[in-house]
Symmetry: C3
Subunit: 272 residues, 3 copies
C-alpha cells in the first residue's frame, strides 16, 4: 500500500511498477531514489533485453508527491538538491539504460509521469490516457534538465503548451505530436504492450545496446547534457549556461511558489 517502485525480472524482461495507489502513483522523493537504484542495477544484468514500465492500477504516474513539497521546495538549496539529485538521478539512470524501455501508459501521465515516459524508447498508451505538466498552476517552472528532456521528446510546441498554457493533452493528440508510438483501446493496452515486449525479446540484443549507445551519443550533442565536457567548451558556451543554471532555483521562496503549493494543499484556487 505504501509508495514504492517495484521490480521483477523473469528471463530477459525486467518489469518496473510505479506504485503509490493512494496518490495515483505520484513520485515521492524515496521513489525517485528507488528508480535510480533499480535502473543502476539493471545496468549490471547482462541477461535483461527489455524493460517494461507501467503504473499500479489505473494510472501511469500523476506527478510529484505534492504532500512532501512543503518540506523542501521553499529553500533554494533543498529545491536544487531535489531536482538535480533525486529527480535527475532517477531520470538519468533511465536514460543511461542500455536496453529498450517500453512504457505502458494508462490514466494520468502528468509532470513526473511525462518525464519518466520521456526516458522510455517505445510508448504505448490507452486511448483515455491524459498528458500534461500543469505546474504553472502550482506556481513553479520546470527545472532546466527536465525541460530539455521534455522538449526533446514531446517537441518544442507541445512543451510550450504544457508549460505556458498548463494544457492537458489526450492520447490521440500525443500520438499526432509524435510522442506515442501506438494508441490502443483501454482494454487492449496490456496485451499490446506484451506483444511489443515479446517482439523485442526475439531481436538481436547486442544490436539493441549498440543502437541505444548511438542514439545517446547523438543526443548528447544536443541540449540535454548542458554541462560542457572540457575547459575549452566551458569557456565558449558554458559560461552563460552556468549563470543560468545557478539561478534556476532562486524562485524557491517566492510568494508565487508558496501560494501555488499551499493553495493545492488547502484545496483552493491559487491567486497569482
Amino acid at each position: 500500500m505504501s509508495a514504492k517502485i517495484k521490480f521483477q525480472q523473469s528471463g530477459g524482461l525486467a518489469q518496473i511498477t510505479i506504485s503509490y495507489p493512494k496518490r495515483f502513483n505520484a513520485m515521492s522523493r524515496a521513489m525517485w531514489r528507488d528508480l535510480r537504484s533499480i535502473f543502476e542495477s539493471i545496468q549490471c544484468m547482462p541477461d535483461v533485453r527489455c524493460v517494461l514500465v507501467f503504473g499500479q492500477g489505473a494510472h501511469f504516474c500523476s506527478g510529484g508527491d505534492i504532500s512532501e513539497y512543503g518540506s523542501f521546495r521553499f529553500q533554494e538549496a533543498s529545491l536544487r538538491e531535489f531536482h538535480e539529485n533525486d529527480v535527475w538521478g532517477g531520470l538519468s539512470a533511465m536514460l543511461d539504460c542500455e536496453v529498450p524501455i517500453v512504457a505502458q501508459i494508462s490514466g494520468n501521465c502528468m509532470g513526473a509521469g511525462v518525464e519518466i515516459a520521456s526516458c522510455c524508447d517505445i510508448r504505448l498508451a490507452a486511448e483515455t490516457a491524459q498528458f500534461g505538466a500543469p505546474i504553472a498552476r502550482l506556481g513553479f517552472p520546470m527545472a532546466p534538465r527536465e525541460a530539455a528532456l521534455i522538449v526533446r521528446e514531446v517537441g518544442l510546441v507541445t512543451a510550450r503548451q504544457m508549460l505556458l498554457q498548463a494544457a492537458v493533452l489526450s492520447a490521440a493528440q500525443m500520438q499526432s505530436r509524435g510522442f506515442l508510438t501506438q494508441v490502443v483501446a483501454d482494454t487492449d493496452l496490456q496485451v499490446q504492450s506484451q506483444a511489443v515486449v515479446k517482439k523485442i525479446l526475439t531481436l538481436a540484443p547486442l544490436a539493441a545496446r549498440q543502437n541505444k549507445r548511438t542514439l545517446r551519443m547523438l543526443n548528447s550533442f544536443q541540449a540535454l547534457d548542458y554541462k560542457a565536457p572540457s575547459t575549452t567548451e566551458i569557456e565558449a558556451i558554458g559560461g552563460a549556461v552556468q549563470v543560468f543554471s545557478e539561478s534556476a532555483y532562486a524562485y524557491a521562496n517566492s510568494t508565487e511558489h508558496q501560494e501555488g503549493i499551499c493553495a493545492f494543499l488547502e484545496k483552493r484556487e491559487p491567486r497569482f
Copy 2:
C-alpha cells in the same frame, strides 16, 4: 487605414494587431521597426502576463510589402540591412519576449506571417487559414536566420516543402506537422483564443517567465544564434558560418531576383 502595428494593453494582456488592410496586412519596413519597439517596450512592463498577436480583419499577415522591394532589394548592402536589422530586429524582439505569446491566425499566414507566428508560443488557427513562404516564385531565397527560425518551428520537412516547392499548406496540415496547437472553426477563433489568454492570465507569471528563459537557453544551443559567443568558438565553427553569412545576400542584383519581383509587380508570370 495606413500600415502599422497597433498596441493595446489592458490589465495583464498586451494585444498586438498587424494592420495594413489594403495589402492583407503585409509587413512594410516601418512595421518591422514598430514591431521591434513594441516588443522592446513590453520588456519593461512587469505587469504584462500574456501577449496576443493577430491581424486586422480577415488575414493574419500575407508576407512582406512587395511594393517596397524595388527600392532596396537589388543592392546587397540594403538587402542585408533589411533582413538583418528590420526583419530580424522585429523577430528577435519577439523571441526575447519574457511572457507567453499567443498567435490568433486567420486567412493568409505567408512569408513574414509564418515568421511572426514562429515567434509565438501558442498558435491557434481558423480552419481556412493558409500557410506558406512561396518566395521562390519571387526569385529569392530565405535569409539564413529566418530559415533557422522556420526550420525550428515548422520542422525541416515542412520548411523544405515551403521553400523548395513553394507549397501552401492548410491549417489541418500545419496542425499535423506540429506547428499549430489548435485548429477551430473560423467563427470560433476569437472566442477560443480569448479562452487561452484568460487561462494564461490565471497561471503563475514568474514561472512563465522562467520557463521562457529555460526554453530560450535550450534553443540558443541550436541553430538559431549562429554568431558564436567567444573567440574560441568563432575559430572552431564560426569561420564557415561567417563565410556563408557574408555571401548570403550576394544574389541581390541577380537577374532571377529582379525578374521575380518585377514579374509580381507587373502582374505577370516570372520566367526563370
Copy 3:
C-alpha cells in the same frame, strides 16, 4: 536486368532509377558507388533544376543486398569500409546535391531505402508503401552517421521504433510522423510526383540552390557531421565521439551478427 542506378537527363530534370528488380531494388555495393558518382556528376550540371528518385517497378528500395553481406560484414575493417565509404559516399553525395530532390516512393522502402529517401527534400508516397529498418532481425545495429541521418529525418521516436522494435510503418503513419510531404493513391503516384517536379522546374533555380545551402549549413551544426572541423573542437567534443566511432564496427565478427545474416540467407528464424 542487373543491379544498377539509371540516370537520365532531359531539360532541367534529372531522373534516377534504383534498379535491381530481382531483389526489389536492394542496394548492392556497386549501386552505392554508382549513386555517388551520379550525384557528383549532377553537381557539375548547372542546367539541372530538380532530381527525381524512384525505384524500378513496384518498389522504391528494399534495403541492402544481403546476398553480398557474407563477403565483407564479418570483419571490422571491411564492414567499416562498406558503411563509411560505399554507403555514406552515396548518401553524402545526395546530401551535397545543390538542387531539390523529389522522392517518389512505392512498395518497400526499407533500410537503405529509408536512408536514400532521407536525403531527398520532397517525399511523396503511394498509400501502400511500407517503411522500416528491421536490421535488428539481421543481428546488427545501424551505423552512426546513418542513424544520425534517420533520426534527423524521421524523428527520434520513429527511429527508435524502427531500430529497437523492428517496426514497419505505413505511408499514413510516416506522413503523421512528419516524414512524407504527401500520400496519394497508388495509381496517382506518378502523376502527382510529375506535378511536383513540373512546379519546381518553374521556380527560381538560384534561390533553390541558396535555400539548400542554408538548410545544409543549419544541419551541419547538428548531429550529422560529427567530425569536428578544428583542433579546438576535436579536443572539446571530438574525443568522446572518436572513441565511440572507433568502436562502432567492433561487432563485425560477433556471433549475433553472423547468426542474423546466416539465418536470413538460410531462410530460417534467427536465434539470438
